[in-house]
């Protein structure tokens, strides 16, 4: 192993920083966490010559070293802390060729921290088309840096960049600006108070403290030094920005020429349609529709395949290791089915992120924010929240993951919290059977009551999501004041490599992080349903045979299964909660279904099938049999269990309750704490309980 060096990639959002990262590291990258916060930490290894390896850190996109979000704060925390293990030996500032001026602001700030800095100018292949020419030598001399012209699209300049990284020791660390010129008196007194420190670094610590919050991993204590009000500090920061732009403009005047006549009108042409007051919305609606189609319909093909594959795999385990007893059962029904229950989500996640990364990469997503901001901000949501909310109608898991693209933490959190209210496809089998059972046939102006009920449930889910967002927006407090400033990037053809890496990375995150929790809970649920205490569970066969003497073997087996489930641990839980769910109109059998639904809502149907001794559910005729059995189900006094009142109550419960362990697991992963999933579980279930209670008591 040769020497390792730390490289930090820094740059504005939308400059192709991640493309440069992907070009340098390929698939040698992993996503971790910064301790205590919800920002992804992307690291990768880049092989240089002679066995030298560079640890490349892709820092969150930022416009300057003055943080206004947690993501941006990561950058400044790292650059101010020389003791951090990731502190860069060399920083790469990635700019694109068209926004060089703005990117140089950040560049000069990093330079003033005296970190060896390379300026990477991406999309250099567009220079001729855009009529831009640069005097590289002059720029390098004036900026005291080395410049790498790269094109991640054409894959040029990457090798030269690697060589520059390798010779980082030769790069000047001379600052660009004399920052004390911002306010000489103030900076002099600052230097006097901390004679051993770099004055620009001190300035950053102070302004950061005033603007955003204490720098946590900072050894400097500037709290005693406070001679300026926040208002004055801000004025100085404005002055700093002006000074920096004066410097940058003077350099670009010599080093850059732009032939404006060459500017292609692609942006304005596309903007004219894509954010048009009418067509913009029509197009966005069509985009949402195709996302919905992909995850609701196309994804079912691979999902069915996964389903049958894991079913036959479980069967294979049982047949191949028949002597294994409980171990074989655990592997086949607990573990294999549990893993199957995780893998089944992959097609939807992959499809959704395929769309999202294309929308982000192309620059279209910012237009969506522009179009939707006015409507969504009223509910504390971002324009970007619509994509997760609509995806939630297929499945909440990929939808919660999709919120990652919302920059504002509060808007992201609210979206995560309300997405599970939208009617996911797992609710559908439950809705269908209960609607068929309790909603009468018949129609009004050509629309059947049953269809109308189903539609009402979809609207109810969406309405509840929006309504709770509105409430949460008023209840949740944020530490940081946030502003709406959205960059409208240039339209670009998405890079296939970036899209693929995003899809792979999101899928991996789900399988390995949320997957652990899902597997653990599904094994627990399986054990609870497959084992029970006492004689009645263990000798179910003889008990059942005693009660019903003359029956066919298959009927007898179904009855044994029902009897076993009744006396299993899950059955005991179902019976224990009966007093609690009685006011909602449910008996203990429904109770067992509710508990079992925690694995996935559609399990409700299968569980009821077992408990009503219908045998393995799923096929058409069995659904009919379950329906008949449910319709005939009565309490001891002869009153029916499933009436309009209890049916509506059950529908409402399923519409609002948080009954999905996989969703909880992914919320835990996305918010990095158990606090939010637990609040979600309690809050949603309470809403469900109250609504179901009111409905049942009124309709009864």
């Amino acid at each position: 192993m040769g020497k390792q060096l730390n490289v930090a990639l820094i740059g504005n959002p939308n400059t192709g920083k991640t493309s440069v990262f992907n070009a340098l590291t390929g698939l040698n990258q992993k996503v971790g966490n910064y301790p205590g916060i919800t920002v992804d930490k992307k690291q990768g290894v880049c092989k240089l010559s002679r066995g030298v390896k560079a640890n490349v850190l892709d820092l969150p996109g930022t416009y300057s070293l003055n943080a206004s979000s947690l993501d941006e704060n990561v950058v400044i925390e790292l650059l101010l802390n020389k003791n951090d293990k990731d502190y860069p030996d060399v920083a790469l500032i990635v700019s694109d060729v068209e926004t060089l001026k703005r990117n140089l602001l950040l560049f000069t700030q990093i330079k003033d921290l005296k970190i060896p800095t390379i300026l990477v100018i991406n999309m250099s292949d567009l220079m001729i088309r855009k009529g831009i020419s640069l005097d590289i030598e002059l720029l390098e001399a004036k900026l005291h840096t080395k410049i790498a012209l790269v094109s991640t699209r054409k894959n040029t300049g990457i090798e030269a960049l690697k060589q520059l990284i390798e010779s980082y020791k030769t790069i000047s660390t001379e600052p660009c600006l004399d920052t004390t010129l911002i306010d000489e008196d103030y900076f002099q007194s600052l230097q006097k108070a901390f004679p051993n420190q770099d004055v620009y670094k001190l300035w950053l610590v102070i302004t950061q403290d005033a603007n955003f919050g204490k720098i946590t991993r900072q050894e400097l204590d500037v709290s005693k030094f406070k001679t300026k009000s926040n208002q004055e500090l801000k004025r100085l920061q404005q002055k700093e920005a002006i000074k920096r732009y004066q410097f940058i403009n003077s350099i670009l005047k010599e080093g850059q020429t732009i032939d404006r006549s060459k500017a292609t009108g692609l942006r304005s042409k596309l903007d004219r349609i894509l954010i048009h007051k009418v067509w913009g919305y029509v197009i966005f609606f069509l985009v949402l529709l195709s996302i919905f189609q992909a995850i609701y319909d196309w994804a079912t093909v691979p999902m069915d395949l996964i389903d049958t594959t894991f079913a036959s795999l479980a069967e294979w385990v049982k047949v191949t290791f028949p002597g294994g007893g409980k171990v074989t059962d655990l592997v086949a029904e607990g573990i294999v089915s549990g893993i199957g229950g995780i893998v089944i989500f992959i097609p939807q996640i992959a499809f959704l992120f395929l769309f999202i990364s294309i929308l982000e990469e192309s620059g279209y997503m910012s237009r969506v924010v522009f179009l939707m901001d006015r409507v969504m901000r009223r509910f504390g949501l971002s324009g970007k929240s619509l994509v997760p909310l609509i995806s939630g109608t297929a499945c909440a898991i990929p939808a919660v993951m999709a919120t990652r693209n919302i920059e504002n933490w509060k808007e992201r959190l609210i979206t995560i919290l309300v997405v599970p209210f939208t009617t996911c496809s797992a609710r559908l089998p439950v809705y269908l059977i209960i609607i068929a059972l309790v909603i009468p046939d018949g129609s009004i102006i050509g629309l059947s009551y049953q269809a109308l009920t189903l539609m009402a449930l979809y609207l109810l889910g969406f309405g509840m999501a929006i309504f709770s967002a509105y409430i949460l927006d008023r209840v949740l407090k944020t530490k940081h004041k946030t502003f709406f400033v959205v960059e409208m990037p240039n339209y670009k053809l998405p890079l296939l490599k970036n899209v693929i890496i995003t899809v792979i990375e999101k899928t991996k995150t789900f399988v390995f992080e949320a997957g652990k929790i899902i597997l653990a809970i599904s094994i627990i649920l399986w054990v609870m349903a497959s084992y029970g205490p006492g004689d009645k569970f263990n000798n179910a066969e003889s008990y059942v045979k005693e009660i019903s003497a003359s029956q066919s073997t298959s009927e007898l087996n179904d009855q044994i299964a029902a009897f076993k489930l009744e006396h299993s641990y899950i059955g005991i839980v179902g019976k224990t909660i009966e007093p609690l769910i009685k006011p909602l109109g449910y008996d203990w059998k429904v109770g067992i279904g509710l508990v079992a639904s925690f694995a996935a809502r559609e399990v409700f149907v299968g569980t009821l099938a077992t408990i009503y001794s219908v045998g393995s559910a799923g096929e058409g005729e069995n659904i009919e049999t379950i329906k008949t059995k449910m319709a005939n189900e009565t309490y001891a006094d002869g009153t029916k269990v499933f009436t309009l009142a209890s049916g509506i109550s059950l529908l409402l419960f399923y519409a609002f309750a948080m009954q999905c362990m996989s969703t909880l697991a992914i919320v835990r992963r996305e918010t990095k704490t158990w606090k939010w999933p637990i609040l979600q579980l309690i809050g949603m279930t309470a809403i469900a309980y109250i609504c179901a209670l009111i409905a049942f008591q009124f309709l009864k």
Binding site: I242, S268, I275, V485, E487, M488, N490
Partner: protein, 77 residues
């Protein structure tokens, strides 16, 4: 009369004269909303909010309430 970016109509331009209001996000200043720079209002969302501008070679969308804090001098024609 005091003009702000919020008073611009689609396609109009102005020169920023004052952006020192306390409530202007620093990010906006850093992206180039500084005195002397030209603002070009490119498009408006329904109800003129948000507003889509070009300033200092940056293309930005900001809300009307923020735009109303940035004082400009209108360029005619």
């Amino acid at each position: 009369m005091r003009f702000t970016i919020a008073d611009l109509k689609k396609g109009e331009k102005g020169i920023i004269t004052d952006s020192s209001s306390e409530n202007i996000p620093l990010k906006l200043l850093e992206m180039g909303c500084l005195p002397g720079n030209e603002v070009h209002l490119l498009q408006l969302a329904p109800f003129s909010d948000p507003m889509y501008l070009n300033v200092n070679d940056s293309f930005l969308a900001i809300r009307k309430e923020t735009a109303a804090l940035i004082v400009i001098e209108k360029i005619n024609g």
